[in-house]
Symmetry: C2
């Protein structure tokens, strides 16, 4: 079966996120000062051919750990849709 | 109140996603050939000071429309967490 799996990769909470800070500045300049913090990460959707939902999740976790996320700076969350 | 809002920005389905294709090639080289397609977009989390969940969502939609997403190439989805 074909599964759609979402992998969200975000900068670790302990780290500064310069891209997020830049976006926050841009939003303030647009008059959106009610936005107090911004963090920017990646959203990756995978189409996976697997026998079960669990197998698809396991493949996605392997992909995230090996290639999609850099564990030194980022964490990831895997959701089978 | 403070709301956490997630904005997912993805390349339009009609468009090629060269970054996704590159990642797909990398995953195949790692032996993850069961992954048949990859699309890469952005995941942005916003902390918004607003009176209600609806107000927070409306601010996030304005931010996404004006700055976070490029409507020519991308679509976005807003979720209040």
């Amino acid at each position: 079966m074909n599964y759609t799996v979402q992998v969200v990769v975000m900068p670790l909470k302990e780290l500064l996120d310069p891209q997020g800070k830049a976006v926050l500045g841009g939003l303030e300049n647009l008059g959106l000062g009610k936005i107090k913090d911004v963090r920017v990460g990646k959203n990756i959707t995978l189409q996976i051919e697997a026998d079960s939902k669990e197998a698809a999740k396991s493949i996605a976790e392997e992909a995230a750990g090996k290639l999609l996320a850099n564990a030194v700076m980022e964490y990831f969350e895997v959701t089978v849709l």
